[in-house]
Structure formats: C-alpha cells, structure tokens
Amino acid sequence: MRNSLTIARRELSGYFATPVAYVFIVVFLVLNASLAFFLGNFFERAQADLQSFFMWHTWLYLFLIPAISMRLWAEERRQGTIELLLTLPISVADAVVGKFLAAWAFTGIALALTFPMWLTVNWLGQPDNGVILASYVGSFLMAGAFLAIGAAISAITKSQVIAFVLAAAVSFLFAVAGSPVVLGFFSRWAPQAVLDAISGFSFLGNFQAVQRGVFDLTTVVFFGSMIALFLFANAVIVELRKAR
C-alpha cells in the first residue's frame, strides 16, 4: 500500500508537470457548464437541483476518461519506463493500484472544481443537498469504473490512440448496457434473466438511480466491483505481457 501511494504521488505530480492536466480540467469544466446550461436547460427548468448537470456525466466521461486512462500503461511501454517500474521491488498490484489512484484522484479534482454549480443552485433556491452529494459521490464512483476499464485496456498496447479508441468503445457498451441497442442484440436468443443481468451492468442506469436520490449500497457495490474487476484484469494483462 505504501508503494501504491508512492507511485500514485509520482503519477499525480506527472499530470501537473505538463499542460495536459490543465487542458483537461478546463475542457471538462467548460463542457460541463455548457451542457448543463444550454442542452440541460438549467434555468428553464426552474428547479433548484443539479439534474441537468449530472445527467451528462456518463456521456462526458465516455470520451474524457479514456483521454486520461490511455496514457497510464501505453506511455510507460512506449518510453520503456515500464521496465524500470517493474524491476523495482514492488508488486504488479502496487503499480496497478497506484496508477489507478492517481488517475482517480485527478478526476476527483476536476469534479470538485465544478463546485460553482453547487453554489449557484444554493444561491438560487433550496436544493436537496443530500441528493447533490449522493450524485457527486455516484459520479466519482462511475468515473472510477470508467478509469479502471481504460487502465486495463491501456496495458494491452503501447499506442495511446488505440488505447483511447478501445477504451471509449468498451466504455460505451457498459454505459448503455440497458438500452435497446445492446439488449436488441441479445433479446432474440437470450432468456429474460440474462437480459436483466446485462441491463444491470448499465452505468447509465445505475447512475440515473443515484440522481433520483436512490443512493444505496448497490450503487457503491456495483461501481466498486467494476473497479476491482478491471484492476484485476489490468494486473493480469501486465503479468501476461511479461511472459509474451
């Protein structure tokens, strides 16, 4: 764990050593605000809540999170620093968790910087701050799950472009698992129980429940297990590539 934190610290300072972090944060904030105000009709709805803000998060993450996760392992492999990292006295799990934590903390920072949205609704009316807090936590967890998917995929390749495109594609499948697009593919031959299970994997569905104020353990367990599953896959991929 100490090693994971050391690695996470190094990674996180690496984000801010280049303009990448600042560009990302600015784009994230601008997109968030424009989607909420223009497409989400924040004012027209005349309701003191942040639904028009959170409803876009799944879609934003779909292509912004792979932009963070693509470099996690692909960059190490391209620069050869993975050889340095994996010959230090740490386990592969230390490295996987450390890298993930850094990326997750970074998205946490970006998400936290949307606080003016929260200030705005509180200034305009009396929103249910419990729901808003739950939505923030849910959004952060969902970001973590997308990141874990992207991190595992980044370990497959040394090309960041491939890592980005694949991560976005896989993330899309998970995001819309409950939609007719995905279910239609299975509905002809799979029994209802399977369809229910597949739609249960929908990030969109799980996150929508949170936005309605239904924040229970299921959400935490769902996104938590997705993170654990893909970090495990990440570690397995790194190990397998050593034996290639």
Binding site: T6, A17, L84
Partner: protein, 317 residues
C-alpha cells in the same frame, strides 16, 4: 565464493524466434562480468529475464539466492538495474526522480540522505538535479539511470550498456565508478566496447544467437586469438623483403604478414610474425633479426585481439 547471480538454463521464445536459448552462468561477489555479443544475440533479453522484467520460457534466475519469479520482491530489493537505453520519466526533475526511487526503495532518514548524496556525487549530477529529465543530454540521462541503479547500494548490479552515449571522459568516470564498487558486489555489464571489457571486467561471456559461445577472463579469451604472442616489427620499407624471408625461415613461426600502415606509417613498414600454437617467439625473432643485422625501429609482442576472438566465436555460432 558463493554466486550472487545464478542464471540457469534461461530460454526465451518470442513466437517462433528463440531469442535466448539455454544461457547459464554464475557471478560471484567481487566479479565484474562483461556480457558481450552482437546486436540481437540475446544480451538484453537475458538481462530482462535476470531482473524479472520478462518471464522466461524455461529456466530460472536467482539473485542472492532468491528466485526472480517466485520471490520477485526480495530479489529486486537486492538488485540495481540500468535497463537498455536508460529509460526515465521525462517530465520529472532528476532530483524528484531520485527521491521517488528512494521512496520505493524504502530509504529514510540519515541513510537516505547519505545514499542520495553518494549517488549524486558518483554520477556527477549535482548541477542538473533541478532540471526536467527530457532537457538533459544523453550522457546525463545515462548517469541519472546509473544513479538510480546504485542508489540503494545493491549487492547485485546489472547494467545494460552503462557507457553508451557518454563521451570519453564520462566513460572513464563510469568505469572508475564500476571498478570502485566491484569489490563487494556482483556486477554484470553488457557492452559493445571491447576495450571496456579489458579495462574493468574480471570475466567475460560472449553470446551469439542466444547461446554462450565463450566464457573466461579477458586474458584467456585474448589467448584464443591468433594474434596472441605474435610479434610486430616496425622497420624501414626497403628491408621488408629481407625481414619477411628471415622470419619465415624460423621454426616456431607459422606465418608472416606485412601490415599496410597507410598514412599513419610515417615512412615505416610493419611486419607481423604469427607463432605456431600461441608459443612465445619474441626471443627467437629478436635474436634472428639481430643475427641478420637487420635494424629495427620498434618490436613488440601482441597480447591477442579481443575483437578478433569476438568475430571468430560469434560468426562460427
């Protein structure tokens, strides 16, 4: 003498290619092993397996008795490694990078300060600690990589081309550094530079096509050269015919060759007498030349040529 590095039958296949094909050797404390071979012979792949970066197809590597695959953390804690090309995090400052390595190596307090100090001094990095690594010259990057490898005072050092990209002065410093650490460590360096082997290695292994083709001290390998104990005689150009005739007639001399000195000859010619079975012929040769009253500008015994041995054993494989 216990072996600190034990390489036992390492094999690595990349698809249909057998990059490393049963390499075994041991390195004891106090030894500096020069690991030689043509490009693509499997040097780096062997090192990557010895350090636990690649999983071998077969065979095993032990560092200080710890199997690199079974007990990787213990093995890697006792190992300092400079990977091929000295990869480093380009966005980090050199100083921050060494701090990161010190954290991972679990160094703290006075010991940490002392080790960082020593590594920075040994690699001459004091002036560049505040600079981002990607702004450093190739030589400085290599030295940051070296500092990283020796930071925790490891018992085993594996250095893949430690002097690549350094200027002659820096090469000299790095060799002096390696020599100074040799006494209480087991060190493996890979290199293309044969003079480096003669300068610092106590032993040398040549591999070709994934197999060990020669293993011995530099002197032993030199003795395999046909130049070993050959006598080179520098003379005036008009005496070449007479000298060649006289030397060819000697019993222990196998062949005599004239060497074209080109522009470097400054008006002299050079004749080399090669001995039969590497015997010592300097006495016979000098007596014969003196007996025939042939004046000699310079006469010297060759020790043998590592580059020639290298060519012979690697091309034969």
């Amino acid at each position: 003498m216990t072996a600190m590095i034990e390489i036992d039958g390492l094999v690595k296949h990349f698809g249909p290619i057998r990059a490393v094909d049963g390499v075994s050797f041991q390195v004891a404390r106090g030894e500096v092993l020069g690991f030689l071979g043509p490009n693509g012979a499997g040097k780096s792949t062997t090192m990557k397996m010895a350090t636990g970066f690649l999983t071998p197809t077969a065979g095993m590597a032990r560092i200080c008795g710890f199997d690199v695959e079974e007990r990787p953390i213990e093995a890697k804690a006792r190992l300092g490694y400079l990977p091929e090309g000295a990869p480093l995090y380009p966005d980090m400052n050199a100083g921050a990078f060494l701090d990161f390595i010190a954290d991972i190596r679990g160094l703290s307090g006075d010991k940490r300060r002392a080790r960082l100090d020593h590594a920075v001094r040994s690699a001459n990095l004091a002036d560049v600690l505040g600079q981002p690594i990607d702004t450093l010259s190739k030589g400085f990057k290599r030295r940051v990589g070296l500092a990283q490898a020796i930071l925790h005072d490891p018992e085993v050092l594996i250095l893949d081309e430690p002097t690549d990209g350094l200027d002659p002065n820096q090469k000299h410093e790095v060799r002096a550094l390696i020599a100074s650490m040799a006494k209480d460590k087991a060190i493996v360096i890979s290199t293309h530079i044969l003079e480096e082997v003669q300068a610092i290695c106590s032993r040398c292994i040549i591999i070709a096509r994934g197999k060990v083709v020669a293993d011995g001290t530099p002197a032993q390998l030199e003795a395999r050269s046909r130049w070993h104990n050959a006598v080179a005689v520098t003379i005036a150009p008009d005496k070449v015919g007479a000298v060649v005739a006289r030397l060819t007639s000697l019993a222990p001399v196998a062949t005599v060759e004239t060497v074209d000195l080109g522009n470097a000859g400054s008006g002299h010619a050079k004749v080399v007498a090669f001995p039969k079975q590497g015997q010592t012929i300097i006495g016979t040769v000098s007596d014969a030349l003196r007996g025939a009253s042939l004046p000699v500008v310079e006469i010297r015994v060759e020790t043998g040529r590592l580059d020639e041995v290298f060519r012979t054993v690697t091309l034969a494989a």
